[in-house]
Amino acid sequence: MTMKMVTLRIDEHTVEVPAGTRVVDAAKKVGVDIPVFCYHPKLESVGMCRMCLVEIGRPVVDRASGKVVLEADGSPKIQMAPKLETACTTPVSDGMLVVTTSEKVAAARREVVEFILTSHPLDCPICDKGGECPLQNLTMAYGSGTSRFIFDEKMRSAKHVPLGELIYLDRERCIQCGRCVRFQHEVVDDPVLDFYQRGRALEIITRSEPGFDSVFSGNTTDICPVGALTTADFRFGARPWEMKPAASICAQCPVGCNIVYDVRREAKSSGKPVIKRVMPRQNESVNEVWICDKGRFVHHYNESAERLTQPLMRVDGELTPVSWQQALETAAAKLKEAGKGLVTLAGGRLSNEDLFNLRELTRAQGGTTLLHTHMGGGEWTRQLGLNQGSNLGSLGNGDAIVVIASDLHQEAPLWWLRVKQAAQRGATLIVLNARPTRLDAYAAHALRYQPGEAAQAVAGLMGNHKTPAAFQTAREALAGAANLVVFFGSDGLGLTGTRALAQTCADLLMQSGHYGRPNNGLVGVWQHSNDQGAWEMGYAPAADLVGSLKKAKVALLAAADPVGDEPALAKALAGADFVIVQEMFLTASAEKADLVLPVAAIPEREGSLTSGERRAQRFYPAVPAPDGVRPDYTIAAQLGQRLGLELEGRAAGLVFLRLAQSEPAFAGLSYQALSTAEEQWPIVGRRDLYFGGTTYDNNQGMGTHLQPVLKAGERPAAVAAALDTELMDAGDNLLVLPHTRLFDQGSLVRFSRLLVERVATAELRLNPATAKHFGLAEGVAASLNLNGADASVIVRMDDALPPGAAWLPRRVGVPLWAPAAAQVKVMERD
């Protein structure tokens, strides 16, 4: 694609940019700062604040000849516009001259600042934005220092307006730039903020229920050029200059958003450094400059008083604190005894290094490594996943994206945003799900299948299965796609269903050859941040976890809580001779364990995670770990040493080097490679906060894609097994399908006080017709008998859901991981 380039002069610089670029962006590219308030490089320009006024001249063209008139010295004659123009709305044109340093421009800026300040309270000392405030900075840089307006006539309005429980609005500070309103409308399409009234009375309102109902709400505080929008979480937490930023990766979902932990000492934590806030860190290939509210507000778990800080061992039936020395020696002895009877069950929250050391430890004993997940198909994402050069941000016209059995908006909000934007850039989006999801609105083809029949739907998309006519048109749309990315998830599916689905998706990609090159491949919408990393290292879920745990002599559980997840697993685990648990908290599994080893949380240690897009990214220590905890990889290494193995446990970087030597997918990678950062556009987080908001610049590394396991044309090694089908017909019982919600009752969310109100509860949603059939009514409490255990739920009607099944979120206290047939009865009121 060739873009028409335009050459123009900005002050003393000459710059060549693509046609259609705004003057303000062109200037930024050559380092000329044009101050802005309402303009943001990720939003449409509106020219509302007038701060970007500059002098613009254009070459004079002779009307008769159509040629540029030349001066005596041969340079083109420039006609300056009589008035100043807004640099944020004016596109560049050939031969343009932009003057940003003249007295006329300086006067305009001075007056715009003066005008904006007529209604600004200037309460910078108590404002959370003070110190990183565009208005403050631009006033210092361009303001006059005095005002001709009468101070007493300043607007006096509400200073403490909660827009929901996460974000506060200070109406006095608002300068009416509309960045938040436009962000909510244009970028994330949650139009829950808007203007109300006009002129000086203009104010920002929300009327949604709950207030400011958007999972991206925190981003508005980053782009607000004043302190009008602040988060309830950080409110008065610290001054921006007092905090130390530490780069990290959000470990709440497989997207792997680049973040920064802002850290400061805190008196109530007896002077220890604590995380004060989480900010996005720019990575245009992953999260651009945004993060979701879960990533922003869920960081409180690591400072919880419930953290384990001492190894616990079962002595006379009680878990008793013991020394690390004793704990490790006991564990090592048990591992040695166990030999092949060792079963290591790892969770997807572990880092690459943890998983590698645990694998080495387990393999040396001849034991089994298992991944604790309800979602299969990683053997396919490993081979057909995304490769170097892939960037969802570069998909557009001519490309296609298929999202199947996933509610991306809830499971991986940033992927939802990126897929939505790709669709808006022209990519063909095909969404397949048994129920409607937020992504349908942007899909060229939003297709429905019968609950449980996701794999069949993909087969239908390939023409291998009888499907409605709509599938035919979707198939045609897919046929000519230059690039194709397929996202598959576990919405309404369990382990068996997702495995079958992944395999069919793999078939789809192989059939059309959409793999082995950038921007093509299969992406699993996993439940944890590093599930993909685990698959890459050969971890896989057990086909029969109950059986595996029952047979285990020693079960080593790391970041996995089977007891809390499912009663059947709890029973099975009781059969193991010795259970070792590596955990941050005393989970249900830890309570039943024989030995509990306390581990460090992600902000307390080094490591790397592999995102669902197969991008390995580093996180760095932000706060000191509490005394007594150790990173998982160190624990595994120390156990290994006692068993005569030579495992690296001194530093995560060294473990990673071993991993790179051992696994072809990680070959050639190192911490150095992961920490390289390249110049990105838009420029954010430097001196010019006014431009991109308070998002941090990325200096600590943007991560690297793993090496391709397959080359284009090479067939995957895994052989297509016969597709097991998952339960689809519940007979006389109610078919209950699991789905994932962003704010679930997972072990980490519960420590964030603010999020409590948004957390999903055990609500059984179903079509009124289905409800009627089972004698259920809106709002009633019902009892579900699922897999032999009883659970209580609240019934909710939802016309949008197809009849014949009911939907229940995962991790809301009901052990539901795969479609299940449930006996349902209305509970009697006491």
């Binding site: 139009p191 203007f195 109300y196 009234q197 006009r198 002129g199 309102i205 009327r207 949604s208």
Partner: protein, 173 residues
């Protein structure tokens, strides 16, 4: 079927028919007028109903109500006295006019007279700068302009409105 549709089934259908489905959001203005017809203001319930009919968020509908001075989110008097105080009007004495009017009626901007007849509102440009001070009266499904006003002439207009209201009240009785 929501409240608004139940109350004005034909009107809502007629309005929606005017706009193709993809431009349904354009129906917001006539629907707001319709919602305001009976009570003189757009209730929260009507906002929700219109949001549902047009596919907009309740926040967006509220925003439109807030932008236009002829839509009202709050209940007011039978007649809304809307005085323009933008710059040209202010230069011609609209500020003083408004102050005197408030004194005369014993209420300030945004308030309603105890008999529920008049609400004073300050509005943006009414495009009659050259005939300021001026105001418009919104009420009884009508909007009337009153230009070149003094407080005396304005009170005369209000007196007329009172009589008109009484008359229509008697007729109704």
């Amino acid at each position: 079927m929501n409240e608004l549709q139940k109350r004005y089934p034909e009107d809502v259908a007629a309005i929606l028919k005017k706009y193709p489905p993809e431009f349904r959001r354009s129906a917001i203005m006539p629907l707001l007028y319709l919602a305001q017809r009976q009570d003189g203001h757009v209730s929260g319930r009507s906002v929700t109903d219109i949001a549902e009919l047009t596919g907009l968020s309740t926040t967006d509908v509220t925003s439109v109500v807030g932008f236009y001075t002829l839509f009202h989110a709050e209940a007011g008097g039978r007649y809304r006295i809307q005085v323009c105080t933008d710059l040209p009007c202010a230069l011609r004495g609209a500020d003083d006019f408004l102050a005197l009017l408030q004194k005369e009626l014993g209420i300030s901007v945004g308030e309603t007279t105890p008999d529920g007849m008049f609400t004073i509102e300050e509005v943006k440009c009414l495009a009659a700068c050259h005939r300021a001070p001026m105001f418009q009266v919104q009420g009884d499904g009508d909007i009337t302009y009153h230009e070149h006003q003094t407080v005396e002439s304005a009170m005369q207009v209000l007196k007329g409105l009172r009589q008109q209201a009484q008359k229509s009240g008697k007729e109704a009785a």
